[in-house]
Structures are given as structure tokens and as C-alpha cells.
């Protein structure tokens, strides 16, 4: 399997924040969900991959070429949190603009997608709802037949119906085995639905990038009194959370072994949301 994106040791330093040696890959045929708290470094990672910001260290390969390479960018569709076109423009004008910018621009596909999304060609972007603007961005990203879609918080602030429609488009896009998606989102239920892999960035560091199903099957939450939890071997405990009304809890790996060791403890399946709460919570150790 070829990697569409290969990030190794990516570093980016700001006054109040540092992205610290991020390693990340987006293989062909996969949707990689990028998660993390606000300000964790997801957007900086995406911007670095796309060449919008210059990394201070590490290497980035986009379809085998350096980040920012114009040839590679021809094969990348990008959707940011909101529309990036001037609000006075119409989809028709955007079509003509991108015809003159993107060599693989497919006007017929763009117009067809706009119609399917219910976007009026003559209406100004500023008159579109947020959901419609996101659909327009998506139609714009798809119309150049990209191999890689990069989305930064593309589904945030949208209602479940629109989000569902957009996720269906992602799944349709990924049917082509040569394509891939890097999707950053706070809405972890979306990622649980469509992502193949989860990459978790926490305070500027990549905690893990793992197969989503394996991750969810091989981790669990154990709730028990502190005395009972302390009997667990350290190698099984990923994060420990002390106190709280329900006693202590821990995010653990290998739920089968944990169940054998602590037969009286409550062991629940975990979700990405809960995992984030464990890593990012105030009580996390």
C-alpha cells in the first residue's frame, strides 16, 4: 500500500505552542481521522502538509513529493472549516476561476455535484447557509479528481443530516483504492463511522496512529475503587483518572487480561470521545 502522505519528525514552533516530532501517514484507500483537543496541533499539522506553513523540522512527502510541490497539489482537494472564496462570488464564477487554475478541473462534475447538493449556480456564497458553503467547498475539492482529500474541521457546526450526507460522499470517494482522506474533526462519532485509522495529537505530540477497529477493540475503560485499580500492571494502563463520584477509572489495553485480573471491576467498551476525555481531562495522570 502506497502512502499518499508521509510525515516524519514534523516540528513547528510558535511562541506559545510547539508541534513536536509528529509522524503520520495517510495510506491509499484509507480515511485517517485526526483527533485532538482545541489547540492540540491538528490544523498546524494539516497546514504543514499542504505547505501553508513552513515546518521547523522533519520531512513531509505528499504523493512522494515535498510539501508545497505544485505537481502534488494538483492531486489534492482541500476543505477548510469555512468557505475561502469571497462571499460576493457565485458557484458559476468559482467554476470559471478554477477552470483557469486547476489543470484537471472537471466543470461537468462540479456543476453536477452542485446540483446534487442543491446549490444554485447564480446565488452568491454569502447567501448560502454554512452547510451549503461546506458542500460547495466539497464540490470544489472533488471537481479536480483529487487522489487525496484533506479536510480540516469540515463537518463542525453542521447538522446531523448534512454531516451524514458529507460522510456518505467521503465513503463514495474512498471506493477508489488509489485515493485517501485526511480528516480532522472534533466530532468523533463521524470518525467512528468512516475512519479506518485514528491519529491522536495531544499537546503538540502524536500519541498514536492506529487502526480504528483494533484501537476500539483492544482498549477498554475500567471503573473500580482505587485500591483495586492499583493492582493492575502498569503496562496494561494507558491513562489513569483518579477520584470523581464513580470512583477511579483507567483506560486500559487488552480488556481480556484486565477482566481476568479484576473480575469484580466494571469494564466498558470505549469510544474515541472517552479516550480523548481520558487523555485530555484534568484528572488524567
Amino acid at each position: 500500500m502506497t502512502n499518499l502522505v508521509e510525515v516524519a519528525g514534523l516540528c513547528k514552533r510558535y511562541d506559545s505552542f510547539t508541534l513536536d516530532h509528529i509522524d503520520l501517514t495517510v495510506p491509499e484507500g484509507q480515511i485517517v481521522g485526526l483527533i485532538g483537543e482545541n489547540g492540540a496541533g491538528k490544523t498546524t499539522t494539516i497546514k504543514s502538509i499542504l505547505g501553508v506553513v513552513r515546518p521547523d523540522g522533519g520531512t513531509i512527502r505528499l504523493m512522494g513529493k515535498p510539501s508545497g510541490d505544485k505537481g502534488a497539489l494538483e492531486k489534492v482537494g482541500v476543505v477548510f472549516e469555512d468557505s475561502y472564496f469571497n462571499g460576493v462570488l457565485t458557484p458559476s464564477q468559482i467554476d470559471r476561476i478554477l477552470q483557469g487554475i486547476r489543470p484537471d478541473w472537471d466543470s461537468v462534475k462540479f456543476r453536477r455535484d452542485c446540483e446534487a447538493f442543491g446549490l444554485d449556480h447564480r446565488k452568491k456564497i454569502k447567501d448560502f447557509s454554512r452547510g451549503m458553503r461546506m458542500k460547495l467547498s466539497l464540490a470544489t475539492a472533488l471537481a479536480s479528481h483529487p487522489r487525496l482529500l484533506v479536510m480540516d474541521e469540515a463537518t463542525s457546526g453542521l447538522d446531523p443530516v448534512v454531516r451524514g450526507e458529507i460522510l456518505d460522499i467521503f465513503l463514495e470517494f474512498i471506493q477508489d483504492e488509489g485515493c485517501g482522506i485526511l480528516l480532522s474533526s472534533h466530532i468523533t462519532t463521524d470518525l467512528e463511522r468512516v475512519a479506518d485509522q485514528i491519529a491522536y495529537i495531544h499537546r503538540g505530540r502524536l500519541l498514536f496512529q492506529r487502526d480504528k477497529d483494533e484501537l476500539l477493540q483492544e482498549t477498554a475503560i475500567v471503573r473500580a475503587p482505587e485500591a483495586l485499580l492499583s493492582r493492575l500492571p502498569e503496562e496494561l494502563v494507558m491513562v489513569r483518572k483518579t477520584g470523581g463520584s464513580g470512583g477511579s477509572a483507567a483506560l486500559v489495553r487488552d480488556p481480556g487480561t484486565v477482566r481476568r485480573l479484576l473480575p469484580d471491576a466494571v469494564i466498558d467498551r470505549t469510544s474515541i470521545d472517552e479516550m480523548m476525555q481520558f487523555y485530555g481531562g484534568r484528572d488524567a495522570e
Binding site: 501553508v52 505537481g71 469571497n86 462571499g87
Partner: protein, 215 residues
């Protein structure tokens, strides 16, 4: 490149689609009715400022960040902006000449020389102004660049007001300006060369700033 140029023109035309015809008619009527070429010169100036306002539209919608992800070079992005200013001031020049001709037909005058020279001078000053504005705007944002340049011009004019006579003693500026009528072609060629040089230098600086700019 053509796509970037379309983006600039569509944006400006949509933004000023009501204002532009109104200004064109108003200035035209004022120029003819008041028998004043000033409004035609001012039209060039206004068009230059209209063309620059695309920068604030870009800033408000985050176009710069998206443009960095497109298969275009910084020189193409910056070049489209310089080209739009040329187009807008060029339109104002042609419009000014046409209206100046009409004004002269109405008033029975025949000499277009002063108007042509005046319009060309305003076009060149406008192009120099906008060219100086672009690198600062890419570096500091449009508002700060605009305010910064206003301060620079203020300092220049106050300096000229205070020390103009002393400067004229060192370099006979007034006498030098009088030679325009003697060597008009030389002056035109020299002014065009200076304008071209300033534009080229500012373009190169803008490209360099834009390439390094992070969004």
C-alpha cells in the same frame, strides 16, 4: 494565471457593480458640467484604490490560506493583483481621455495634450502608489499598510513644505519641471521607466514576501 485574474475581476466587479457605474457617471457629468479635468484625474486614483480593496476581501475570507494549497506560484498570485491594478487604471485612463474629448467638444477646446499628460502622470503615480502598497499589505495586512503609507506621504509632504525652498536651492526642481514642455517625450520615457522599475522591484519584493508568508 487566467483563473487568478478572473477571481480578482469577478470579486471587484461583484463588489462594485452598483458603485462603479454611479461614480463613472457622476465624475463624467461633473467633469463636463463644471468644465474641470480634475474629476477625470481623480477617477484614475479612485480606480486604483478599488483594485487594491481586493486584498481586504482576501483577508476576510481566508483566500491566502486556500491559495497556498492550489497548484499556482506566489508570482502568479501576486502578478494577478498587479495586473488588475493595471487593468483598472487603464480603464480609467481610456474613460478619462474619452470624457476629456467630449468636454473639449462641448466647450470648443481642441488641445488634448495637457489632459493626456495629466492622466498619464496620475496613472503612473497611482501605479507607483499601489506597487508600494502591495509588499507592505502582504507583510502587515491592508489596513496597516494603508495607514503606514499615509504617514510616509504625510512626512514627505510636510518635509517638502518645510524644506522645499532649501531643497530647490540645492536642486533646481522648479526649473527642472519647466523642461517638461521642452522635452515631453524624454520626460514620458523617463517617467515610464521609473514607474516600470518601481513596479518591478515591488513585484519582486511582494513575491518574496508572499512566498514566505504563513497563513
Amino acid at each position: 494565471m487566467i483563473g487568478l485574474l478572473r477571481k480578482e475581476l469577478y470579486g471587484l466587479n461583484s463588489l462594485y457593480q452598483k458603485q462603479l457605474p454611479l461614480v463613472a457617471v457622476l465624475y463624467g457629468v461633473l467633469a463636463v458640467a463644471m468644465n474641470q479635468d480634475f474629476f477625470l484625474y481623480f477617477g484614475v486614483w479612485v480606480m486604483m484604490f478599488y483594485s487594491i480593496s481586493n486584498l481586504s476581501l482576501d483577508e476576510s475570507c481566508g483566500w491566502g490560506r486556500y491559495a497556498k494549497t492550489l497548484p499556482v506560484t506566489s508570482a502568479q498570485i501576486v502578478g494577478a493583483k498587479f495586473l488588475v491594478t493595471l487593468i483598472y487604471t487603464g480603464i480609467a485612463l481610456v474613460y478619462g481621455l474619452a470624457l476629456g474629448l467630449i468636454r473639449r467638444m462641448v466647450s470648443g477646446e481642441s488641445d488634448l495634450g495637457v489632459l493626456t499628460a495629466g492622466l498619464l502622470a496620475v496613472v503612473m503615480v497611482s501605479l507607483i502608489m499601489s506597487s508600494l502598497m502591495y509588499p507592505f499589505a502582504f507583510r502587515y495586512g491592508l489596513e496597516r499598510a494603508r495607514n503606514g503609507l499615509l504617514v510616509v506621504w504625510m512626512v514627505v509632504f510636510v518635509g517638502l513644505y518645510l524644506f522645499g525652498s532649501r531643497l530647490n536651492e540645492a536642486v533646481p526642481l522648479i526649473e527642472l519641471l519647466d523642461t517638461i514642455e521642452v522635452y515631453p517625450i524624454l520626460w514620458l520615457a523617463g517617467s515610464l521607466a521609473v514607474t516600470g522599475l518601481v513596479m518591478a522591484l515591488c513585484f519582486a519584493a511582494s513575491c518574496r514576501i508572499y512566498q514566505k508568508k504563513e497563513f
